[in-house]
């Protein structure tokens, strides 16, 4: 564990200094602040826009950060040959992969936390009250990004960053559209063809379901309450942990035989 922690720390320190990530962070912060330019509407509409834009921007910037980070964590070490000095030390390959992931996750968390904090302060300024619901939304964004990052890292052990970038994004989009795949699976028109139905059902159940994590609606509309929200949030966290476990285990198993 201490080895994983050491590698995570090294990764985190280096990632936090990478300019490309800072670009996303600053752009996101700028957009969040700019959202507050929507002041010409009724207060309720204004808050709807601000909250929705804010959470959306944090989520999207987070996806970019997670993907850019995830696809490069391991290939960068190989390209710069730092991996040689590390793997020739008493470091298990699994420890290396998990350490890299943990370091990346810490980076994503810090970025999300920073954007979230800025967003929360702006909401406090606007609503004159601390809105803890917003934190729920940000937390769910983080768990969503945990899967995104694990996915990018998983592909990075056997694909080039370039291919990986598009593949991870494609799966992110597909997973975000899971309502569509689900409705296709349940579409009565398709019931005649068991293969098609089964395929869409499989896609719905197997592709990481990023759409699950869009829980901002009741946050944006405080008058809406969704039943069993607590249970759902717990399920979302369990889902993220399970899915990340699968991806990391596969990544480790593949990386064990990877030539560096």
């Amino acid at each position: 564990m201490s080895t994983i922690w050491l590698i995570a720390n090294g990764t985190f320190g280096e990632a936090m200094r990478r300019k490309i990530l800072n670009v996303f962070l600053f752009v996101a912060l700028a957009i969040i602040v700019m959202t507050f330019a929507f002041t010409s509407f009724m207060p309720r509409q204004e808050l709807v826009l601000i909250k929705s834009m804010g959470l959306g921007v944090i989520g999207l910037a987070g996806v970019f950060i997670s993907v850019i980070l995830g696809i490069n964590l391991i290939p960068n070490e190989i390209e710069r040959r730092t991996i040689y000095t590390i793997l020739s030390k008493p470091v298990q390959r699994s420890e290396f992969v998990l350490g890299k992931f943990l370091g990346g996750l810490m980076t994503v968390f810090s970025n999300i936390a920073l954007m979230g904090l800025a967003f929360l302060l702006l909401i406090v300024y606007k609503e004159h009250a601390i809105n803890l619901d917003v934190l729920k939304g940000i937390l769910m964004i983080f768990f969503q990004l945990m899967i995104v990052g694990a996915l990018a890292l998983f592909f990075s052990v056997f694909l080039s960053p370039f291919v990986n970038f598009f593949l991870t994004f494609a799966i992110y989009l597909l997973g975000s559209l899971s309502s569509i795949t689900e409705s296709l699976a349940k579409d009565p028109d398709h019931h005649k063809n068991a293969f098609v139905t089964g395929f869409f059902y499989l896609v719905h159940v197997v592709i990481p379901n990023f759409a699950n994590y869009n829980i901002q609606n009741p946050i944006i509309h405080p008058e809406i309450h969704v039943g069993k929200e607590g249970l759902y949030i717990v399920q979302l966290i369990v889902y993220a942990i399970l899915y990340t476990t699968i991806l990391l285990t596969l990544a480790v198993a593949i990386f064990e035989r990877r030539e560096v």
Binding site: Q45, L60, H221, Y243, T249
Partner: protein, 464 residues
């Protein structure tokens, strides 16, 4: 290095984890749907020409759908201010698909459709009414726990727009039931902050929803139920005051207002039981005059007797002709009946360009009314392509905006104290309503049937 067999075991174990993943997903789906828009429809909106701009569509399918809905709503507001009405309705449709919990959009959107798309003389385009009703019903379906939506549909649309008191009552009662449910639920779960907040919010709906139901009972000629409802409201206001809900001033003035309503209602119920009989002949008559093609004048007489003086406390009164009653007129294609739209798709927004409906009213002064109605300035709204038209003029004693209370003091809540040798109509059907007969309602109604030639012809022509 990991041995091959260990590695294979780990791979198998990882893949086996997909079973709980799938299980979890299926378990989560029902809850998830509560957070989501109707993607099937959003997709069709994206595919539909003139629907969602592509950049917005992209946002709609990622984490930005409420933002997209919000931005579209802002844009819709611009359309309204620029008078670009045709663009508004698809926007409303798409926004509420994207964000089914955007309450403002249902309320404001349906209000736009029912009231704000008008001809040159500020008469609303009644082709939109079925859509507005459908949108509101959908809003309620998607947000069944918000009493204000029931109240809005009941009042703004059924009560005020089409005088369909049956439907108004139905939605008010459902809303009332919801308030009671929410309050009971909060009481059963005293530690749930969300439920407590919802109960507080619901309790404050008494002013609109509770009062509205009482008025609807009056309009339906049910004074006992109306009184009971007013008493309920009074108690609810006092409870709110005690609990410190809402502004103290608002609740206490509401309570005072309700108290006044209870007093008046109690007295009126007592006096009207005797004062309204025997029925008085209102001697309704109406003529329709074509002034020019598509330009008509409605005119006629109504012997609108009511209480010129009336002392509530003693019942002392003096009858006389009262100004301020209104005669409604509806000019429509002969076979048109307000349809019920259950699935409000984007396609249902393409209004039938060949359908003509016009509704207006004229006020009665000194027992006479007359009003010029010019439908020639809006050929898009009034296309006059049908071969035959029905024109109905009627007097509705149950409708507060057509019948002042002092007139009702003579003829009762439903016209039970009113008769007419020629035009009394006891079918209970108000032209243009959606729910069929309103029990016990007595209207004065005169119907004309016009041909296409009658509408388009040159020169003056009088229809009797």
């Amino acid at each position: 290095m990991m041995s091959n067999s260990k590695r294979q075991l780990i791979l198998v174990l990882a893949l086996l984890l997909f079973i709980p993943i799938g299980f979890l997903q299926v378990n989560m789906d029902p809850t998830r749907h509560k957070y989501e828009p109707d993607y099937g429809n959003v997709k069709s909106a994206v595919e539909n020409k003139g629907g969602l701009p592509i950049e917005m569509a992209l946002g709609a399918f990622t984490g930005f759908r409420e933002a997209v809905a919000g931005l579209l709503w802002v844009r819709t507001d611009e359309f309204f201010h620029n008078g670009d009405y045709e663009a508004i309705t698809p926007m409303i449709r798409i926004i509420t698909w994207l964000d089914p919990h955007f309450i403002d959009v249902y309320e404001t959107g349906a209000w736009h459709m029912d009231y704000n798309f008008t001809d040159a003389d500020q008469r609303s385009d009644r082709r939109y009414i079925p859509l507005a009703l459908s949108l509101m019903r959908e809003g309620i379906k998607n947000n069944p726990d918000l009493p204000e939506l029931y109240s809005d549909l009941a009042f703004t649309h059924y009560y005020r727009k089409i005088s369909d008191f049956n439907m108004s009552r139905e939605y008010y009662e459902r809303g009332m039931k919801k308030i009671i449910e929410i309050e009971a639920d909060a009481k059963a779960n005293p530690n749930d902050a969300n439920k407590k907040a919802a109960a507080q919010q619901a309790a404050l709906q008494i002013t609109t929803l509770g009062h509205g139901l009482a008025h609807t009972y009056e309009a339906l000629g049910m004074p006992d139920e109306a009184l009971k409802q007013w008493e309920y409201c009074y108690k609810a206001h006092m409870d709110n005051l005690a609990a410190g809900f809402g502004g103290q001033f608002g609740e206490s003035s509401s309570a005072q207002n309700v108290q006044k309503q209870i007093q008046e209602m109690t007295m009126r119920r007592k006096w009207r039981a005797t004062m309204t009989q025997p029925p008085v002949d209102y001697k309704f008559d109406a003529q329709l005059v074509r002034v020019a093609p598509k330009v008509f004048e409605m005119r006629g007489k109504l012997n609108s007797i009511g209480a010129k003086k009336f002392v509530l406390e003693t019942g002392a009164h003096e009858w006389g002709l009262i100004d301020g009653t209104r005669i409604e007129i509806r000019f429509q294609d002969a076979d048109y009946k307000t349809p019920e739209i259950n699935n409000f798709s984007l396609n249902s927004l393409s209004l039938n360009p060949n359908l003509t409906i016009m509704q207006d009213s004229a006020s009665v002064r000194d027992g006479k009314f007359s009003r010029k109605i010019d439908m020639s300035k809006d050929p898009e709204m009034y296309s006059f392509t049908a071969p035959k038209y029905t024109v109905t003029m009627w007097f509705n004693p149950s409708n507060h905006s057509d019948t002042p209370p002092q007139v009702q003091d003579r003829i009762g809540w439903r016209g039970e104290g009113m008769t007419d040798s020629r035009y009394l109509d006891t079918s209970g059907i108000v032209p243009g309503d959606t729910s069929g007969p309103q029990p016990g309602l007595r209207l004065l109604k005169k119907t004309f049937t016009l041909t296409h030639e009658d509408v388009m012809g040159q020169g003056q022509k009088v229809f009797e």
